[in-house]
């Protein structure tokens, strides 16, 4: 049974934009899946359907065979808690410490009043420190996030996602605002999480070189539809032009 399955998912935003159109997709447990496509092709929307930050207009989202398409309230929060997410712009609390930010990942498992008082249980703090070790930032735990570099911030975000003890990790253009060397270092942490913990990773990417290096399977979107599904090395020049349009300069994206 696939971990995630999308069945004919369509998403129409209130302003009439059709971001996804009858997208069907299976994400197998433990795989590293890349999502590619031009800006506006629906990559972010696809990822947000998986953890139900977005509710599809039509179609079904299945998680381990169970229908999660229209979950609400507590059930929806529990579902989201099981899936970590990281973002292009990190989305951390800049003025707080690294540790406090990592603990945000445990909100779904802590009583509301405890989290408001800021008194997280001791074992969660220890778990947060262990997760910081995983991303190589243990010694930064008490620094303010504001002081960190972009690459370090993204690693804090990974630690925050790990705090959810997730079944899967969604990464929305995680390295798009980092320089190439830093991008690789962040991607290597995602790879490590994928291989060491067997965690499923779904990652949208802009650079084909990164896709070839890290992903085992690729899905390409164009105007909200799946136009390619397969291994990275199956993306020939012809497919490339089909995905990115005739004028796209391969060098830039490769």
């Amino acid at each position: 049974m696939a971990l995630f399955e999308l069945r004919e998912v369509t998403k129409v935003f209130p302003n009439g934009v059709v971001a996804l159109e009858r997208v069907s997709l299976r994400v197998e447990r433990g795989e590293f899946l890349a999502v590619i496509g031009l800006s506006g092709s629906g990559k972010s929307t696809l990822l947000r359907c998986l953890n139900r930050l977005v509710e599809p207009s039509a179609g079904q989202v299945l998680f381990e065979g169970a229908d999660v398409t229209h979950l609400r309230g507590r059930a929806l929060r529990q579902y989201r808690c099981g899936i970590g997410m990281i973002f292009q712009h990190f989305n951390l609390i800049e003025r707080r410490t690294v540790l406090e930010n990592v603990l945000v990942g445990s909100l779904g498992r802590v009583a509301v009043w405890r989290s408001l008082l800021g008194t997280f249980p001791e074992e969660l703090v220890e778990e947060a420190l262990r997760n910081l070790e995983v991303v190589g930032l243990a010694e930064k735990a008490f620094d303010r996030v504001r002081m960190l570099s972009g690459g370090q911030k993204q690693r804090v975000a990974i630690a925050r996602a790990l705090m959810q003890r997730p079944h899967a990790l969604l990464a929305d253009e995680p390295v798009a605002s980092l320089d190439p060397a830093t991008a690789h270092s962040v991607m290597r942490y995602l790879e490590e999480v994928n291989q060491r913990f067997g965690m499923t990773v779904v990652c949208s990417l802009h650079f084909l070189s990164l896709v070839r290096r890290y992903a085992r399977r690729v899905v390409a979107l164009r105007a909200g539809r799946v136009v390619f599904e397969g291994c990275p090395d199956e993306i020939t020049d012809e497919w490339f032009r089909h995905i990115y349009g005739e004028e796209a300069q391969e060098v830039e994206i490769r």
């Binding site: 953890n51 930050l53 929060r77 529990q78 579902y79 989201r80 808690c81 099981g82 899936i83 970590g84 997410m85 973002f87 712009h89 989305n91 951390l92 609390i93 800049e94 003025r95 707080r96 945000v104 990942g105 445990s106 909100l107 779904g108 509301v112 989290s115 408001l116 975000a157 925050r160 705090m163 959810q164």
Partner: protein
């Protein structure tokens, strides 16, 4: 094109009726007859409306009016354009003339010998303040500052709550909460649009003239003004952090606490300090209508025509307002 036509007819109608009202009630009664115009009768209203329609019809057929000019200035003949221009100029002259009469402008009074002497005496007295009432004035000033402080402190908690409840991005997820948002917006905007001076009049009828009425008036205004500023700040937070906290499966309360609050603490603090500073200034004025403190003392001496005492109070107010201004600006600089 259709809509333009309606707008042109409306413009001509309104200008025609407006000109008729001014010509009849101001020029005819005030200038020619030299008397106050009587109450408006229904027949007059009909006549004004007819005048408006006449001008609109003129614009539609002869095309020599403002409305015709608005639709398409380039297609008018020179004389039509000239005519429209004169109508506009005539309205302007008529309006200023009316304003002059209604405001009872009388420049000569600024320069009458007696007036000048009184003003001179007054300014002289203000510049030679009576120091013997300094202790009384200081006590009243302290009262004013505390009225402002209390209004700020008492208004703060409700304003904080409202700041979030009146923010679109917090409330839009659910129909019920969105309805609450809409109602709160209306109430806040109403409370804010009523000047604190008017609130002071209302409360001095309610709880009696005095500092308490002044404080209540400013509290209401503080709540409304701060709630508006706070909610705008909440609405402009970076949605990315909000989304990230939501993605962890956090409870909505936690989403607000970890996704919004860290982004708004400093601006909230700055707004609050600024509000206290504004309230001190406002408290002096509210005293004038019976809100207690230094303003009330000022009114007492002014009623007795004791201008040296008034002078001292005015100087004291100026000094305190200046110090508050400076302090609040420095404080806000420090946290920015």
């Amino acid at each position: 094109m259709k809509r333009w036509l309606w707008q042109a007819l409306l413009l001509d109608g309104v200008t025609g009726a407006y000109a008729a009202v001014l010509l009849h009630r101001i020029v005819w009664f005030h200038m020619v007859q030299g008397m106050e115009p009587p109450a408006i009768s229904p027949w007059e209203l009909v006549a004004y409306a007819l005048a408006g329609m006449l001008v609109a019809a003129l614009g539609f057929t002869v095309r020599c009016t403002l409305g015709a000019w608005m639709v398409d200035p380039h297609r008018l003949r020179p004389w039509q354009r000239q005519c429209a221009l004169h109508i506009g100029l005539g309205l302007l002259v008529l309006t200023v003339w009316t304003g002059w009469i209604v405001t009872k402008v009388a420049p000569l009074e600024l320069f009458s010998a007696e007036g000048l002497r009184s003003a001179g005496r007054l300014f002289g007295a203000l510049l030679t303040p009576e120091l013997s009432i300094l202790d009384r004035a200081l006590a009243a000033m302290v009262q004013t500052i505390y009225i402002a402080l209390m209004a700020t402190l008492v208004g703060l908690p409700p304003a904080l709550v409202l700041g979030f409840l009146a923010a679109r991005n917090v409330m839009r997820h659910h129909v019920a909460t969105f309805a609450v948002y809409g109602v709160l917006r209306v109430i806040i905007n109403f409370a804010r649009s009523v000047e604190p001076l008017i609130w002071a009049v209302i409360f001095s009828v309610w709880v009696g003239v005095g500092p308490f009425a002044g404080m209540l008036a400013m509290t209401v205004h503080t709540i409304a003004a701060l709630a508006k500023l706070y909610s705008e700040q909440v609405e402009s937070v970076d949605p990315g952090l909000l989304e990230a906290v939501e993605a962890t499966g956090a409870h909505p309360v936690q989403v607000v606490w970890f996704g919004i609050v860290p982004q708004v603490v400093l601006p909230f603090l700055a707004f609050t300090i600024y509000r206290w500073d504004t309230n001190v200034r406002m408290a002096t004025v509210i005293g004038l209508v019976g809100g207690g403190g230094i303003g009330t003392l000022l009114m007492q001496y002014q009623g007795l025509a004791q201008w040296h005492e008034v002078g001292l109070i005015v100087l004291l107010i100026a000094a305190v307002v200046w110090v508050m201004d400076y302090l609040s600006a420095r404080l806000r600089e420090m946290i920015a």
